[in-house]
Amino acid sequence: MEWDFLLVQALSGLASASSLFVIASGLTIVFGVTRIVNFAHGSFYMLGAYIAVTIVPWLLEFDRSPWLFFVGVLASALAVGVLGVVMEVTLLRRIYRVPELFQLLATFGVVLIVQDLVLLVWGPVDITGPRAPGLRHGIFIFDQRFPAYELFLIFVGPAVLGLLWLLMHRTRFGVLIRAATQDREMVGALGVNQAMLFTGTLFLGAALAGLGGALQIPRVSANPQMDLSIIAEAFVVTVIGGMGSVPGAFLAALLIGQLQAFGVLVFPKITLVLVFLLMAVVLVIKPWGLLGKPEAAAGRAVLPEGIIDPRPLDRASQGLILVALAAVLALPLLDAYAVKVGTEVLILALAAFSLNFLVGNGGIVSFGHAAYFGLGAYGAGLLVTKAGLPMEPALLAAPLVAAAFAALFGFFVVRLSGIYLAMLTLAFAQIAYAVVFQWVEVTGGDNGLVGVWPSRWAASRETYHYLVAACCVLAIVALRRVVHAPFGATLRAARDSVQRADAIGVDVRTHRWLGFTLAGGAAGLAGGLYAFSKGSIDPTLLGIPMSVDFLSMLLLGGIQSVLGPIAGAAVFHAVKDFFMPLTDHWRLFLGLSIIGMVLVFPRGLAGAWAGLRRRPA
């Protein structure tokens, strides 16, 4: 390879690092002050791009000057900053004290809402932006042509870093932000109105995301998928850099930019995997990221965050379960649609139950549980389509494959806690997603694989329904047994206090690791059953939206209850299946529902049921 080629490669790595930093700096500042991991940060980025492709061409009509281009870009950033203020005032302000899982879900609700609003306003077609006047040419570096706009971007990152440094060290607002990042309660006790500080922070963070998006328009066209693709990368940058640390985000962006620029030469297919692998390695060596600080224990959640005291079922709950079982058995008497929905509900109930085994019982907030669901589905599906095995061994393999991966990923995951743990589970899920998505020869890539059908004896919808019912009910009963067993109690002890559990001789990591593996295996069984119910598999089974669906089921069912997530899965899936075909805006509906649940219903259906029963007759 030539030197000049490597230089150009390094420069293009710097250009992407620059863009990534601008976005990630906003995310990390918002997290530092509010302690909320804002999923909607990707939406702000997308909105920045859409607003810019709308107003920049309009401005350039007046005069094709570079200045007007940048005026348009900055105006877009400011407009997005205002949207950030709207989000803080209407939503975030109400959820600063709820558990972080609910915060993540609520901001994901905003992601869904923005997706639909963007489709409403700008339509589904990608919109190509104008190129920057004065920066359309290429510059020759030795013999290689390098786009002038990319060269310009290289300087944007350091410029933003410098301006942020001045803001943080030379203004009162910046000093207050840094103080609040460390101890916001104390800042309040010194007379600072936190609400104003948080609103200002959201303005700054959203404006940076908007700036990042607006600066992209000469490079990529504005499209409705930009939000989720950038948010995963921005998460990785902030986590590697240390959440809350702006210089850390800069360092991490540089690392990732170069890793991508050169990784693409060595492993062209798996650059995404390399990035997430870097994150896993950094977190194992430095659990708080490169320049991060251990999270202050102060100011954390007020609600009890999980299953407190699993009891034997009382009469009313037993009755409810009997009714549910009877419904499962009787479903084939109804129409085929009811059987389809019933089968799916059973499968999702097992997946949700296994997730709550981690979240509610173990306090391990996995944001990538769909990975194990999907890996189970792919394990079974590949054995049938590629190895020609029948359904039975494939179904047996599904939980084993998923458990194997859960054991592998879990080995790293259980070394962390809190939000870093959630981010690492998300990262591993994205690795699995990326591999399945990019390894086209084996997995069929984006299209997935078809022809995953049950054996002849189970081919009818009704028989398969009963097979699913048997598998899922048995698996749920077994997992529930584990919740009630000493192993389950040990996980709860570790959830409530790692130090105290440690001090009485519990090997917390090993217990969590086993729990993670077990939950992954159960999700894998659900995934395998799902594959045969559909006849096909595709990468969405491992995607972030799928993981969020599972978490929404927990939220709806109530993470404090052992059986609540099953009810949550039933209601969630039935409603989604019913509404999705009826409306073009189901995402809007789902997003609003998630936010509504977080705000008014934080203990879920099971909480409402318990509340009803506690009332004197």
Partner: protein, 237 residues
């Protein structure tokens, strides 16, 4: 009798299911230094936190400068002129000394000389030399000075001072006592929680003794020093 700047009546507070304060009654006169004493777990820090709004009071009334403040957000209470110095100091260790002071800065009431870093450095000369040093690189005693200085930057009428002498070297404890006396000279009322009788005796006019979440004894500091029975009943371990 001097005008009362702080008046607490029937204050109740606790953590989760645990009740800690069962109706605390106390008051603080303008410009007075009072020591809130009692054994570990008697509720001294909890009383200060509940007055400051850092812990939501479950009942009772807290009046500051004539206004009811129970239930207000801490920042509103601070803006009314009540300062708070936490036991654990809670210095912003990532910030420099000057920046820590900046976070605490608020305007002074009319007619008062506002605190400036320079005026504070005259009380705490050690801080002057480390203006631009990161607070994480300071000793415990220096941090204790900084946390008091930071609260004074808000120009409070009264200060709640939680265990100012705890864990400090004797020479630093002396400086703390001087600082409290200087605050008194400036007309600032101080309610300090304290386990160290010598320190309290050096600075306070009056003592209040908490036991099991209630004020069980109060009187002049001299009376407490003279009354061995009271000390044995409530203070000795």
């Amino acid at each position: 009798m001097a005008e009362r700047v702080l008046e607490v009546a029937g204050l109740r507070a606790g953590y989760g299911p645990a009740e800690v304060l069962f109706g605390v009654d106390l008051h603080l006169a303008r410009g007075e230094v009072a020591a809130l004493m009692g054994r570990n777990g008697a509720g001294k820090s909890t009383t200060l936190k509940a007055i400051m709004g850092l812990l939501a009071p479950r009942g009772g009334s807290v009046r500051f400068a004539g206004a009811e403040i129970a239930g207000l957000a801490p920042f509103r209470i601070a803006r009314l002129g009540l300062g708070y110095v936490p036991e654990e100091r809670r210095i912003f260790t990532e910030l420099t000394v000057a920046e820590n002071l900046e976070v605490g800065r608020r305007g002074a009431a009319a007619g008062r000389t506002p605190w400036t870093p320079e005026r504070l450095f005259s009380i705490f000369p050690n801080l002057a030399e480390m203006r631009h040093r990161r607070a994480s690189a300071m000793s415990g005693g220096e941090q204790q000075m900084l946390t008091i200085a930071r609260t004074l930057m808000g120009n409070p009428e009264a200060v709640l001072l939680d265990e100012p002498s705890e864990g400090l070297a004797p020479v630093i404890v002396e400086q703390m006592a001087e600082a409290v006396l200087r605050m008194k000279q400036e007309g600032i009322a101080v309610l300090l929680s304290e386990q160290n009788l010598d320190f309290a005796a050096a600075v306070a006019d009056r003592a209040l003794i908490l036991e099991k979440g209630e004020v069980r004894w109060q009187g002049g500091m001299d009376d407490l020093e003279a009354d061995e029975d009271v000390r044995r009943a409530f203070l000795t371990v």
